[in-house]
Symmetry: C2
Subunit: 230 residues, 2 copies
């Protein structure tokens, strides 16, 4: 692939907190229905995440321009959860003109290093997702990395979330002391508990089903956006 | 999504060894060029892998039928490298009528369990990829799993391979003693070293760039297929 530097990119994350809507719906027609309902929102505090199953089923090349149509000036994240060929997947993201690409924190150090450095080269934000990495293991890993990512996601996976284990938001502070990156938090965030991650120092709140599976997604989305500033 | 049991599936892995061609080319037009050159091969020993970057860029929904056009009776694997929402990604694979789906061995136990059990329900083979999981960690993980996968991939990632570390094929025997699954081996296999994994008990040899980046991919593919039976 011939990749050009994404020099036109104007979106960046300078004014947290943000709300990130994670689209984990695999079928583009269903996502279209959702977007028709919510795209009238023009908040610059709203980030759009192309979730992994959506990306894998429909392909980023097709999906990124589709999202951009509905959200022309929002920051868009491609949740690759990259595990290998770090550079190649960043190139796919650059080609699709997304603002950020996500590598899995479970990937080998060499992959994460290649990923972050390629993001810098191509002027895309690099995100690392800690899904499945215990804190003590991540602490060691971050020391071995050559560069810090722009954003770190503290993530409870959906399969883990459904298993009903207890969760402590206090862990956010520990991560925050470890890296200069912005901190995003994902997994089981609701209107009832959203102030906990915000007060513990989260810069980005990631919500998916709690918004798009609601009876009125637009109403729910507005409530979550309001909660950022309350 | 409405998923139906893939009851028409006739492909299975009863007569190893096999050669798996991993397509890690992200652009469908380039893959088409490759397939035009090699699709005249009708060996039932050839498996076709839809590699992760290919799947992420073009989308499995589009890519699986495209591969099936060129290889109507070959076993096709979707290399999801799933890390979360195990069931959902298997459903995407079933919908696309692939023969097998791959979950990352780095995923949480709950995800791998959900993935394998959904594969059984939907009559798709389940593969676990050990990329990035050290043997001692995998040993513990396999004990915690409810079901064994159909195939286990012993995998050196491309980023790791390029870092030049030494590799011992003897490890294959250790994995083979641990699981009843077939063993697939990936990462840096060439015509020069292919007999080593075969003699150490590999059932499936995974090769990508060594075939499709060769000057004559068809000639190279034939040589690899011949090497299975020599």
């Amino acid at each position: 692939m011939n990749i050009k530097l994404n020099s036109q990119r104007s979106n960046s994350l300078k004014f947290p907190p943000y709300l990130q809507l994670a689209i984990d719906i695999p079928i583009v027609s269903e996502v279209r229905n959702l977007f028709m309902k919510i795209a009238k929102i023009t908040s610059s505090q709203l980030l759009i995440e192309i979730g992994t199953p959506f990306l894998k089923n429909e392909g980023l090349r097709k999906i990124a321009p589709f999202c951009r149509e509905f959200f022309p000036s929002n920051y868009i994240i491609a949740d690759f959860k990259t595990l290998d060929v770090g550079k190649l997947e960043v190139n796919i993201g650059a080609q699709a003109k997304v603002d950020a690409c996500v590598v899995s924190g479970l990937a080998p150090i060499a992959t994460i290093d290649n990923f972050i450095s390629e993001c810098k080269t191509l002027n895309i934000d690099s995100w690392v997702d800690t899904l499945g990495v215990p804190f003590y293991a991540f602490e060691k890993k971050i020391e071995a990395l050559e560069l810090f990512p722009d954003v770190l996601i503290i993530h409870r996976g959906i399969d883990e979330e459904l298993s009903g284990k207890e969760y402590s938001w206090e862990i956010i502070k520990k991560y925050k002391s470890l890296v200069p990156s912005l901190i995003a938090v994902a997994g089981g965030i609701t209107l009832e508990n959203v102030q906990k991650p915000l007060k513990s120092g989260s810069d980005i709140i990631i919500v998916g089903r709690a918004i798009y599976q609601a009876e009125e997604p637009l109403v729910e989305l507005k409530k979550f956006l309001d909660s950022l500033n309350s």
